[in-house]
């Protein structure tokens, strides 16, 4: 028999996006959603109705950020289309699961991957010939305590645990790729602005990275577009996550910090705080 799922954290979530101080249009998008699969017991002759309790607790949280590229309207269209397609596909097919069987988990991972492929096809449908719009996507589907991560591009995902900030995504940029392959040094990549060119994008060359992290009570999760990390250091992010009183307050503090440092890009922040159950 599968073990009963652990009691989920009380998750405090918030998301915030801002056009910034330089761009005329916001091409970022974010989405926060909960997916619930529940059985509310009314009356039964079963001798052990408590065994059904796990169904009542099954739920998942969806966190997505996307940063569109490809011209004024194109980038916005790409990020919006991708986020909508992801939410639709996951809402319709993946949902959440509460069976801890490894085959079920593999199938769930495949569904998450297919969701990104579906978003990619949808964005490509707008592209026509030549270089069309594209978007980054960083998506976490949290089935407590496991956070499944699908990542494309250079938006980022972090979690904070006991004061230690850890980035669980790797930027998929041409700079990173060429440094990895030994073609250029990190310094050359930075000076040639290769770090600003995506090596993987929804709507472009798609190479999704898949991973997971098991979260704990009191952890904080943060997804953001590069409009934040261009201006706000890891130390500032750590401090905001540690000292913030709510997800909303943390988002506002971080976006404000990015704007005060110049706000050269659209900035989007999504935060989830894993409060222990009461």
């Amino acid at each position: 028999m599968s073990p009963a799922p652990p009691i989920p954290a009380r998750i405090d979530t918030f998301g915030l996006t801002d056009t910034g101080k330089v761009r005329s249009q916001n091409e970022d998008q974010f989405l926060l959603a909960s997916l619930d699969k529940s059985l509310s017991l009314q009356h039964t002759s079963l001798p052990d109705p408590e065994a059904l309790g796990q169904f009542g607790r099954a739920s998942a949280q969806l966190f997505i950020v996307a940063d569109g590229v490809g011209g004024v309207a194109g980038g916005q269209l790409a990020s919006g289309t991708a986020v909508q397609a992801l939410a639709e596909y996951i809402g319709r097919t993946a949902g959440c699961y509460y069976n801890y069987d490894v085959d079920v988990e593999n199938e769930f991972l495949e569904q998450l991957e297919r969701a990104v492929e579906r978003a990619h096809e949808r964005v490509r449908a707008f592209a026509g010939k030549g270089q069309g719009p594209a978007t980054t996507v960083t998506m976490v589907t949290l089935v407590w305590p496991r956070a499944y991560v699908i990542h494309v591009g250079d938006s980022r995902g972090y979690y904070l645990r006991q004061g230690r900030l850890r980035q669980f995504t790797r930027d998929q940029t041409m700079g990173e790729l060429l440094v990895d392959e030994g073609v250029v040094t990190e310094e050359q990549a930075r000076s040639s602005r290769l770090d600003n060119v995506l090596a993987s994008a929804v709507g472009g060359d798609l190479h999704p990275s898949i991973g997971l992290v098991d979260l704990q009570y009191d952890d904080s999760l943060l997804l953001c577009t590069d409009g934040l990390t261009k201006h706000v250091s890891d130390d500032q992010i750590t401090e905001a996550l540690q000292q913030g009183e709510s997800a909303e307050q943390i988002c506002r503090q971080l976006v404000t910090a990015a704007l005060e440092d110049g706000g050269t890009d659209n900035v989007t922040v999504v935060v989830g705080r894993m409060n222990p159950p009461t």
Binding site: Y100, D101, L109, R166, V179, D180, G211
Partner: protein, 168 residues
């Protein structure tokens, strides 16, 4: 198609991610990135006419701040323990890691990859230690994620063992 979850286990910096990258993409990078959580890759292999889809779970390496998280090992069909031949402590810790992993995953087939064969002149794991692994029943491969030496053999051997459900 048959799917098998295989977990990469070892201390931080032993070469787990590089071995997966070499096996899946035939690439190697000198740049080191520590894995956070688990990175998942897939590779399909043909074992005597049977197609097997290997789901490669590259687990964050153990270090002074990070323990091996048993929950990641649940449902594994096979395990690859990675020892860095140039760091004696990675050999010394593999026995303890095996105890933790066996408790979480059960007695599933496993191999030990003694990695960084391309740096053989810098090895701190000697013949005595390698022999000790053999004597304790480990199925051992000498590998180099850089040159590819032994990498395909280690993964394919494990894939075949998971089909047989045998122990290593």
């Amino acid at each position: 198609m048959i799917q098998k979850k295989v977990c990469m286990v070892g201390v931080s910096g032993a070469g787990k991610t590089s071995l997966v990258r070499q096996f899946v993409h035939s690439k190697f990078s000198e740049k080191y990135h520590s894995t956070v959580g688990v990175k998942i890759d897939r590779k399909q292999v043909d074992i005597d006419g049977t197609e097997v889809n290997l789901l490669l779970w590259d687990l964050e390496g153990r270090d002074e701040r990070q323990t091996l998280q048993a929950s990641y090992l649940r449902g594994s069909a096979g395990l690859i323990y990675v020892v860095d031949g140039t760091r004696r402590e990675t050999y010394e810790q593999v026995f303890e890691l095996r105890d933790v992993a066996t408790e979480a995953a059960g007695a599933v087939p496993s191999v030990v990859a003694v990695n960084k064969a391309d740096l053989a002149d810098q090895w701190r794991v000697g013949e005595d230690q390698l022999q000790a692994l053999d004597e304790q029943g480990w199925h051992r491969f000498t590998t180099s994620a850089k040159t590819g030496e032994g990498v395909e053999d280690a993964f394919r051997w494990l894939a075949a063992a998971t089909l047989q459900g045998g122990k290593a």
